[in-house]
C-alpha cells in the first residue's frame, strides 16, 4: 500500500475539486478499493472520502420511479420497502451478492465501480492489460474458469463481478453523474464497456466524475422476475453465471422480455434480438431455448470456462421458466426453484 493523501469533503463541489489530481480516487464503502490497495493493484495518491456527502437517500421520483443514492448501502437498498415491493428483482440480486457484512459497507455507486475478480488482475507478478496496459493477458491460456465467454478481446477476458448491476441492466436504470463538466445521465447499458484494446477502462465515466444516483424507471416487473446465480459454493462466491429476467406477461404469452447475464462478460450482457424473439411468444421450452441460443450467440470459451456456455444456456432457460411461472429464485432457500 502506497502513501496517499486523505480528505473528507462535505460537499460535492469540494469532492470534485479534491479528486482532480493524478491518482485521485473516491472512497465510499472501500470493500474493493482498500483490498486492491493492499495488494498494490490500486495505488491512489489521493483518497477522497465521500461518505460525508449525503447522497445516501432513496427517494420517489415524479412519475413513479425511484432514485437510489450512490452512497446508500447495498443492504439499505435491498431492504428498502419500496425497492422490495416495486423492484424485487433488484433486491434479490443485491442479496445474492457478497455477505451481510460487506453489503452493510458497500454502496450502490461502489457496486457499479467494483473491479474484476480476475486472478491475474490481483497478482502483480503476472501480465494484465487491465492493471498494467500493454503487459498482456495472463488469463488467456492460464487459469480461466471464472472468465468471460462473451464480448472478450485478445487483450482481456475479465468479467464484471457485480450481481446488482445485472438487475440494473434489466431494469433500464439510468446512472446520474456529476463532474468537472457538469451533470449528465448515462443509460445503464452504456455505463460499463467491453474491454476491446483498452481493458484498463471498466466504464464510460470521465476522469473526475462522480456517480451521484441510480434512477429506476416506473415499470413494474414484480409479478414475473428472477435472479438466478450459479457459483462454486452456495453463498459468498462470485457468479460463474447469473441471469436476471423481467417479463411482462399477457395471459400465457410474453409481452415483453428483458434478460441480462452476469459472470460471463466485461459488463452485464443483454442481447436485444433474444428479448425481441420472446415478445409475443408463449412461455415454452422452445421459446426459452431460442432466447438462450440468441443470448449466447458468439460465445467463446477459453478452456477452463468452456462449461460456462452450456451452463449459461441451462441457467437462462431455468430463469425464464422461474420468471414466467412467477416463482422467483429465493436467495435464502438454496434449492433452485
Amino acid at each position: 500500500m502506497n502513501p496517499f493523501s486523505f480528505t473528507r469533503p462535505t460537499t460535492v463541489p469540494d469532492a470534485l475539486r479534491a479528486v482532480v489530481r493524478p491518482g485521485g480516487r473516491f472512497l465510499a464503502g472501500g470493500t474493493n478499493l482498500i483490498d486492491l490497495m493492499k495488494e498494490n493493484v490500486e495505488r491512489p495518491s489521493a483518497l477522497v472520502d465521500i461518505n460525508r456527502l449525503g447522497l445516501d437517500a432513496i427517494e420517489d421520483l415524479p412519475g413513479g420511479g425511484l432514485r437510489l443514492g450512490a452512497l446508500a448501502t447495498n443492504a439499505d437498498t435491498a431492504r428498502d420497502a419500496r425497492v422490495a415491493k416495486r423492484y424485487p428483482l433488484l433486491a434479490s440480486a443485491i442479496l445474492a451478492g457478497a455477505s451481510p457484512q460487506l453489503r452493510n459497507a458497500a454502496t450502490n455507486g461502489g457496486n457499479l465501480n467494483q473491479r474484476t475478480r480476475c486472478y491475474y488482475f490481483y497478482d502483480n507478478t503476472t501480465a494484465c492489460n487491465k492493471r498494467n496496459p500493454g503487459t498482456g493477458c495472463g488469463a488467456i491460456g492460464g487459469v480461466n474458469r471464472i472468465h468471460a465467454i462473451l464480448g472478450a478481446s485478445a487483450s482481456c477476458i475479465a468479467t464484471h463481478p457485480s450481481d446488482m448491476c445485472v438487475a440494473l441492466a434489466v431494469l433500464n436504470a439510468t446512472i446520474r453523474v456529476t463532474g468537472p463538466q457538469g451533470e449528465r445521465e448515462i443509460p445503464f447499458g452504456e455505463y460499463h464497456r467491453l474491454p476491446g484494446d483498452t481493458p484498463q477502462r471498466d466504464n464510460t465515466l470521465h476522469p473526475g466524475e462522480l456517480v451521484t444516483a441510480i434512477d429506476l424507471p416506473a415499470e413494474d416487473f414484480s409479478a414475473h422476475h428472477t435472479y438466478l446465480k450459479l457459483r462454486d459454493r452456495l453463498s459468498y462466491a462470485f457468479a460463474l453465471v447469473s441471469v436476471a429476467v423481467a417479463l411482462r406477461m399477457e395471459g400465457d404469452r410474453i409481452a415483453e422480455a428483458r434478460i441480462a447475464l452476469g459472470g460471463v462478460a466485461h459488463k452485464p450482457w443483454r442481447v436485444p434480438d433474444a428479448e425481441q424473439a420472446l415478445a409475443g411468444q408463449p412461455a415454452s421450452a422452445e421459446s426459452f431455448a431460442r432466447a438462450a441460443d440468441l443470448l449466447l450467440r458468439g460465445a467463446q470459451g477459453q478452456g477452463h470456462n468452456d462449461f460456462k456456455i452450456g451452463l449459461a444456456h441451462r441457467a437462462i432457460r431455468r430463469a425464464l421458466r422461474q420468471a414466467a411461472a412467477g416463482t422467483p429464485q429465493s436467495q435464502t432457500d438454496k434449492r433452485v426453484a
Binding site: N2, Y119, V143, L230, R231, L234, A237, G310, R335, V336
Partner: protein, 753 residues
C-alpha cells in the same frame, strides 16, 4: 481412588478459554504489544525457479522510516548444514532456508525482508523492492511430474511402507467382479483464519521471547537454536492461543526464521506477519493421484485389493504420507498389494494437513469400495459389513479396540439408511435428485511421551502446565478436566498453562495424540499430588483416613474422604496447614512404559468412523447441496463430548470442502497458485452446511492409551468426502473421480433432450 467414576473426564463442559476468546482478551502471535517494535514485511519472489540476478533496493531504502532490508546478500550468518535446519517433523531432504543464497525454489519464495519503524512504511517500501531473475525451466504440473515419480531411500519417520499379502494381481485377474478407478485430488492449502505470524521480543541479554503461530513451541525453540546457533535456554517460544492451523503450524514457517534473524541483526524486537497471499507459499496438502483396483466374488466378498498412489513434494524435500495402507488394513481380503511414491514439483514442500494421507487415501479407497458395491449389486453398507475385519489385515495384528461395526449400526439407524433405495437416480424430491452415500473413516490412535507439572496451593488452587498447544482443539479444557477428575476440584479452581516452551516437555499438537498424551501426563502429575496429600493427611494426629491407600479414598469438594465411609474425611487446606505446606509441586512424565511398548508391537491402535451423507442435486444446473451428514465415531473414551463434537463438526465441514470446494489452482506457465485469497479459494460457508449429527459410539479401551482416549482431531475429515461423492453418484448415476466436485463436473454439458 477410582478415576473412572469422577466427574471431570466425560463431562461436556464449556471451553475454559471461551471467555478470553469471545471477549478478545486472548492474544494471538501478532497481537502482543511490545514497545519499540520493528515491523518486517516479506517481499515474495515472482518466479518459480532460477536465480536472483539483482535486487534493486534503492527506492525502498529511501523511504523515511525504513531501518534495514534483509536479503541473501546481507543476512547474518546462519548454520551451514541442513542438519541444523531440520525441525522435529521435517521430512528428509534439505530444508528451505530463506535468504540463504540467490537460488529460487518456488514462486512466492521470500527474497527480502523490509524492516521499518511502522507497518505502513515497511509495507510500502516492500512494494518498491525490485528483483530481476535468471529464470530456469520449471514444472508445477503434477501430471507431468509423474515421469519423475520415485521413492527415496530415506523415508520420513512417520512413513509406513504398505505390506502386501497374497497375490493381488492374479486374484484381480480371476475375480468375477472387478472395478478399476483412477482418482485425483487437487492441491489444498490449510488456510487457517490466523495468518502465520511471529513477534520476537529482544530481551537485551541475548535472549529472545518469541510469540509464534505454531503447533509446537518446543519444536520452534529447538529449530531456532539450531539455525542461529543459540542456546535453547535463551529462547522462549510462546503460543498461548493459535487461530487454527490444521497442520500448517507443525513445522516452523519462514516468518519466524526471518523475524528472529532480523531481531538478532538489529538487536531489537521485530514482528513479521504473512499476508493471506503468502499463506499460499508454504505447506499444503499434496496433490494426489490414486489408482484402486478391486476384485470380488459375486457375493461381494473382496478377493483382491490393488492400491497405488502418488503425492506431490518439492524438489528440495521428500514429503511422504501413508496413503494406500488404510484400505489394506480395514478390509478382510486375502490378496492385497499397495504401492506408493512421490513426484517432485517446483513448489514449496507439501506438508501435513488434517489427517495427512488418510484424508486422501481412505477417501479414494472408500469411493472405489462404493463402485465395487454397485458393481456387485450390493448395498454399500452391507458390502462393508460383509468384508468387515476384526483385525488389522495389513499387519495381521488385533486392534486394541474396533467398534466400527457399532458405528455403522448407530450411524445407519440415525440416518435412516434402511429406507435407501439402492438404484442410482431412484430417489427424487421435487426437481432434485436425492443421493445417500456411506463411507468409512480411519485414523491412528497415537500416544506421545508428554510431561506435565501440577502445583496445588494451600488455598485449594491448582495449576497444571505443559508445553502443549491448543490450536482451537480444546487442550486447555481437557487438561483442566483431567486435573479436576483426579483431585476432585471444580474447574474454576484450576489454572491451565500451555503454549510455552519453558513448560514441561510436550510433543507438537498434531496426529490427534494431544488429548490422550497431555491428559495422561496431567493425570499422572495430579495423582502424584494426591499421593503427597494423602501421605500428609495420614501423618495428622487422629487422621480420619487411617492408613487408607489411594484407591480407598476419594477426592471431592476440596476434601479427601474414605470411599467406604464418606463422612470420614479431611479438607485439603487443613492437611496442608497441618503439614506446614504452602504448596505441593510435582512434575511427571506419561510414557507408554514397557507394557505400552509391547502392546504397540502386538496390536494396532486406530479410530474408526462411519459417515453417511445426503445430497440433493439439481442435475440440469449441477447445483449440489449436502443436506445431511451423520458421522458415527469410535474413538475410545471421550474426555469432553462438547469439544470432541466440535472437532468432528470441523472435520466434517473440511471434508465437505474437500469434496466440493477446496482447490489451489496453479498456472503452470507462471508456476504459481493463482487463487491465493479467501474470495477465490473456496472453503464451505454456512449455506453449504446442512444438518450434521455426531455420534460417539461406546468403545472402552483401557489398553490404547493410559486414559483410554484415542483422539478426535482428524477422524472427522477422513472419509467424509467419500460419503459425499458416493451420495452424488447415488443421486445422479455419475462418477466424478476428481476432487473437488465442482459444478462443471456434475452438470451434463450435452444439450438436454
Amino acid at each position: 481412588m477410582n478415576v473412572m467414576q469422577n466427574v471431570g473426564i466425560g463431562s461436556a463442559i464449556n471451553r475454559v478459554d471461551g471467555l478470553q476468546k469471545v471477549t478478545g482478551q486472548a492474544r494471538y502471535a501478532a497481537e502482543h504489544p511490545v514497545p519499540g517494535l520493528v515491523y518486517g514485511v516479506i517481499v515474495s519472489g515472482a518466479v518459480p525457479k532460477g536465480r536472483i540476478l539483482a535486487l534493486d533496493e534503492a527506492e525502498a531504502r529511501a523511504v523515511p522510516g525504513v531501518i534495514e532490508i534483509l536479503t541473501h546478500k546481507n543476512r547474518p550468518h546462519i548454520a551451514w548444514f541442513d542438519h541444523s535446519h531440520k525441525d522435529m517433523v521435517a521430512p528428509p531432504g534439505s530444508p528451505f532456508k530463506a535468504l540463504y543464497d540467490d537460488r529460487i525454489h518456488f514462486s512466492g519464495q521470500p527474497i527480502a525482508l523490509v524492516l521499518a519503524e511502522s507497518f505502513e512504511v515497511a509495507r510500502h517500501a516492500a512494494s518498491l523492492v525490485r528483483a530481476s531473475y535468471e529464470v530456469e525451466p520449471h514444472n508445477t504440473d503434477f501430471h507431468k511430474a509423474q515421469a519423475e515419480r520415485f521413492m527415496p531411500s530415506k523415508k520420513r519417520d512417520s512413513f509406513q511402507p504398505p505390506k502386501n499379502r497374497g497375490d493381488a494381481g492374479a486374484a484381480y485377474e480371476a475375480a468375477p467382479v472387478k472395478v478399476s478407478a483412477d482418482f485425483h485430488l487437487a492441491t489444498e492449502h490449510h488456510n487457517p483464519m490466523e495468518m502465520h505470524a511471529s513477534t520476537v521480543i529482544w530481551e537485551g541479554d541475548g535472549g529472545i521471547t518469541v510469540f509464534d503461530k505454531t503447533q509446537g513451541p518446543q519444536n520452534v525453540r529447538d529449530y531456532l537454536a539450531g539455525v542461529f546457533n543459540m542456546s535453547a535456554k535463551n529462547i522462549r517460544v510462546m503460543n498461548p492461543y493459535v487461530g487454527g492451523a490444521f497442520g500448517s503450524g507443525l513445522r516452523p514457517q519462514y516468518q519466524v526464521y526471518l523475524a528472529v534473524m532480523a531481531a538478532r541483526m538489529l538487536r531489537r524486537s521485530v514482528r513479521v506477519v504473512m499476508t493471506r497471499q503468502q499463506m499460499f507459499t508454504h505447506g499444503h496438502r499434496p496433490e494426489a493421484l490414486q489408482s484402486v483396483q478391486l476384485g470380488a466374488e459375486r457375493d461381494g466378498r473382496l478377493t483382491a485389493i490393488r492400491n497405488s498412489a502418488t503425492t506431490s513434494t518439492s524438489r528440495y524435500e521428500n514429503n511422504m504420507e501413508n496413503v494406500v495402507n488404510w484400505g489394506m488394513m480395514n478390509y478382510a481380503c486375502e490378496n492385497a498389494a499397495g504401492e506408493y511414491a512421490i513426484a517432485p514439483v517446483d513448489t514449496a514442500t507439501s506438508s501435513d494437513m488434517r489427517a495427512p494421507g488418510a484424508a486422501t487415501g481412505m477417501t479414494f479407497f472408500e469411493m472405489a469400495v462404493d463402485e465395487m458395491a454397485h458393481a456387485a449389486g450390493i448395498d454399500p453398507l452391507e458390502f462393508r459389513i460383509r468384508n468387515y475385519s476384526e483385525i488389522d489385515q495389513m499387519n495381521g495384528t488385533p486392534f486394541t479396540s474396533k467398534a466400527l461395526r457399532e458405528a455403522y449400526a448407530e450411524g445407519a439407524a440415525a440416518f435412516g439408511w434402511s429406507r435407501r433405495s439402492q438404484a442410482p437416480r431412484s430417489m427424487k424430491e421435487g426437481r432434485e435428485l436425492v443421493g445417500w452415500g456411506v463411507a468409512t473413516g480411519m485414523w491412528d490412535a497415537m500416544f506421545s511421551k508428554t510431561s506435565a507439572s501440577a502445583r496445588l496451593t494451600a488455598n485449594g488452587h491448582l495449576e497444571v502446565a505443559s508445553a502443549a498447544s491448543d490450536i482451537g482443539t480444546g487442550t486447555y479444557t481437557v487438561m483442566a478436566q483431567a486435573a479436576a477428575d483426579t483431585l476432585g476440584l471444580p474447574v474454576e479452581q484450576i489454572t491451565v498453562r500451555l503454549g510455552d516452551s519453558t513448560l514441561p516437555t510436550a510433543p507438537v499438537e498434531g496426529g490427534s495424540w494431544m488429548a490422550a498424551s497431555v491428559g495422561a501426563a496431567v493425570q499422572l502429575a495430579c495423582r502424584s499430588v494426591a499421593e503427597k496429600l494423602l501421605k500428609a493427611a495420614e501423618k495428622m494426629e487422629n487422621s480420619p483416613l487411617g492408613s487408607a491407600s489411594l484407591d480407598e479414598v476419594r477426592f471431592a469438594g476440596g476434601r479427601i474422604s474414605l470411599r467406604d465411609d464418606p463422612a470420614r474425611g479431611v479438607a485439603i487446606a487443613e492437611i496442608m496447614r497441618a503439614a506446614g505446606m504452602d504448596a505441593i509441586e510435582v512434575q511427571e512424565t506419561a510414557s507408554g512404559g514397557i507394557s505400552g511398548m509391547i502392546s504397540q508391537m502386538r496390536k494396532s491402535r486406530n479410530t474408526h468412523s462411519a459417515i453417511f451423507a445426503e445430497v440433493r442435486v439439481d442435475e440440469e444446473l449441477g447445483v449440489i447441496r449436502v443436506t445431511r451428514i451423520v458421522n458415527a465415531v469410535a474413538a475410545g473414551r471421550i474426555i469432553n463430548p462438547k469439544t470432541a463434537r466440535s472437532q468432528i463438526l470441523g472435520g466434517v465441514v473440511m471434508g465437505i470442502g474437500m469434496a466440493m470446494h477446496e482447490e489451489s489452482m496453479a498456472d503452470h506457465r507462471y508456476g504459481r497458485f493463482m487463487n491465493h485469497n479467501y474470495a477465490e479459494y473456496h472453503v464451505p460457508v454456512n449455506a453449504d452446511i446442512g444438518d450434521i449429527q455426531v455420534i460417539f459410539v461406546d468403545e472402552p479401551d483401557p489398553e490404547v492409551t493410559p486414559l483410554g482416549v484415542k483422539g478426535v482431531g482428524e477422524i472427522g475429515i477422513v472419509g467424509t468426502a467419500a460419503a459425499v461423492a458416493n451420495a452424488i453418484f447415488h443421486a445422479t448415476g455419475k462418477r466424478v473421480r476428481s476432487l473437488p466436485i465442482t459444478i462443471d463436473k456434475v452438470f451434463d454439458a450435452n444439450p438436454l433432450p
